[in-house]
């Protein structure tokens, strides 16, 4: 049988998916064991025991001075910034994207400026944001919003324009006004597509958050990583990175489930 016709069944799929993860784990364990055998004080590749100990310390023991559980405090701080920012950019993208995509006048007005502005590297704006908005949360939220909104908006506008022209004509022959077309034809069809777009922006959003936290913050997952870097505390950094990855993965999964639950028609419409 040809290779391209070999399809793994459910069990095999699971095994195959687990394989690369297992390989990474094993490779790390070997590397760590070799280094620790040479030098028991090696900090670069701590073993899982050391990482577990460090994370237990961060997650389950309050800081003796401030009484704060660092891992949870950092997570809360980062997630609230990230989710606030994503909510803001999603809302802006939805409104402007639909306007630009649906109304030729809005497209002519805002299309070019959005296209140009989305070429500005957001991180280059970070100093400006810190200068204008101070070192607090506002600047970090603004960075994430700037970094994600423009792409989301362009994506939305393109997807509105992808709607078959027949649908818009049909709605008009049913007597719909511009507002009604936007509200009942375009908006509900954009929501599941918006979820897809936001899923793709979760990664960049984390990037901007961690970058901003690295430069100026007093809590947050990115802040912690860059703080303990000074002590070469890989036993903290690695679990933190895994934790961030897991959070991002869960956000992605939640959005995917939301899409499937809230828009049952979408899977069928997408393949049609």
């Amino acid at each position: 049988m040809r290779l391209l016709n070999l399809k793994p069944d459910k069990t095999w799929r699971f095994v195959l998916a687990a394989l690369p993860f297992a390989a990474i784990l094993v490779a790390y364990m070997f590397g760590s064991a070799i280094r620790l055998a040479e030098n028991p004080d090696d900090k670069l590749l701590p073993n899982f025991g050391a990482m577990g100990e460090a994370i237990r310390h961060y997650a389950l023991q309050a800081d003796p001075r401030s009484g704060i559980y660092h891992l949870w405090n950092d997570t809360l701080s980062s997630l609230s910034l990230l989710l606030t920012a994503l909510a803001i950019s999603t809302l802006i993208a939805l409104v402007f994207g639909i306007m630009i995509g649906l109304l030729p006048i809005a497209g002519a007005t805002f299309g070019p400026v959005v296209a140009v502005a989305s070429m500005v590297p957001p991180l280059a704006l970070l100093p400006i944001l810190f200068i204008i908005m101070g070192l607090g949360d506002a600047a970090k939220i603004a960075l994430i919003v700037i970094g994600t909104t423009l792409k989301l908006t362009r994506d939305m506008a393109l997807r509105v324009q992808d709607l078959p022209r027949e649908q818009l004509i049909k709605a008009q022959t049913l007597g719909a006004s511009t507002w009604q077309v936007g509200l009942r034809v375009v908006l509900p069809q954009m929501l599941p597509r918006l979820i897809d777009a936001v899923r793709l922006e979760i990664g960049p959003a984390w990037l901007f958050l961690i970058a901003a936290e690295a430069i100026a913050a007093d809590s947050g997952l990115g802040y912690r990583i860059f703080l303990v870097r000074r002590y070469l505390a890989m036993d903290v950094i690695i679990p933190y990175v895994i934790w961030i990855t897991l959070l991002a993965f869960l956000m992605d999964l939640a959005l995917r489930l939301l899409q499937r639950r809230a828009f049952p028609w979408f899977a069928g419409a997408r393949t049609a």
């Binding site: 049909k170 509900p188 069809q189 028609w265 419409a269």
Partner: protein
């Protein structure tokens, strides 16, 4: 009564003439079938009638008044594809027209008015043979059922003109026969003037009261003389692109088909027979 008049209508895109000097009067309650090879401007013609495109020259009159320059509820339409809204259930697809009419801000009806709109939509769905499918989404329907739904949706606003853009082109022959029966019944029982674009000649003659053929004038004797030996010459293609299509044939279908006069003058009535799916019997 809805008579449609094309008064010396031209449609050009820059140098490219698509339609040339269309002079045409469509009688009220006619069922006009437009045929012609692809790219002959049938669809452009329909789009002009829809208000999606405006003529470059000439006028289109409906009931003596110039046609509105954008689509509205006077003219219903069914396209070959994408005619229904994929995010709405079958019932909501039919109801949405009434909701557009009665709820300008929210675009949605509630309470008693919603139930009234639902009852009306259910009656229509029954009439087009979609009873029992109300809660499904269009993607769960077959192609033929989707077109039935598109018809019900268009009829819900009681348009005076129904435009069909190759509506049955993508359907299997058997299903097509069923839906032909339905469309004839709809035409016969409502105050409707139907204009249908099709590339299927037999469909055109079976359904239409009048068949109109569009063609580019590639067989004009003077052209043949001039370019006859250079069929693949660029200049010929060039010259052809400059000549627009026009009406080359116009048949009144014989024997004459006439829609049944409507009982009370011409108020649009929608009382189709129940259970219209078993439509393989020949009609007319």
């Amino acid at each position: 009564m809805t008579a449609i008049v094309f008064d010396k209508v031209w449609k050009e895109y820059g140098d490219h003439v698509v339609l040339e000097r269309i002079d045409l009067t469509i009688a009220p309650r006619a069922f006009v079938a437009l045929v012609g090879p692809s790219g002959c401007g049938k669809t452009t013609f329909l789009r002009m009638l829809l208000g999606e495109e405006t003529p470059t020259r000439g006028r289109i009159l409906v009931d003596g008044k110039p046609l509105k320059a954008e689509p509205n509820a006077d003219r219903g339409v069914v396209f070959q594809r994408y005619s229904v809204f994929p995010h709405l259930t079958v019932l909501a697809n039919v109801m949405v027209g009434r909701e557009f009419e009665e709820a300008p801000i929210l675009g949605k009806l509630f309470g008693l008015r919603r139930r009234e709109a639902e009852t009306e939509a259910l009656k229509l769905l029954d009439a087009v043979g979609l009873k029992g499918h109300e809660k499904k989404y269009p993607a769960e329907l077959s192609g033929g059922m989707q077109q039935r739904l598109a018809l019900a949706q268009a009829l819900n606003r009681k348009p005076k003109i129904l435009l069909l853009d190759e509506p049955f082109g993508a359907l299997d022959p058997g299903i097509r026969a069923d839906i032909h029966v339905l469309i004839r019944r709809i035409w016969n029982e409502n105050n409707l003037t139907v204009v249908m674009v099709t590339h299927d000649l037999s469909e055109a003659f079976r359904l239409g009261t009048r068949v109109i053929a569009f063609e580019r004038p590639r067989n004009r004797p003077e052209e043949l003389e001039r370019y006859g030996a250079t069929l693949d010459d660029v200049s010929l293609a060039d010259a052809m692109s400059k000549a627009g299509a026009s009406i080359t044939r116009d048949f009144e279908v014989w024997p004459k088909k006439i829609a049944t006069p409507l009982p009370n003058g011409h108020g649009a009535q929608l009382e189709l027979e129940v259970g219209s799916t078993d439509g393989n019997k020949p009609v007319g």
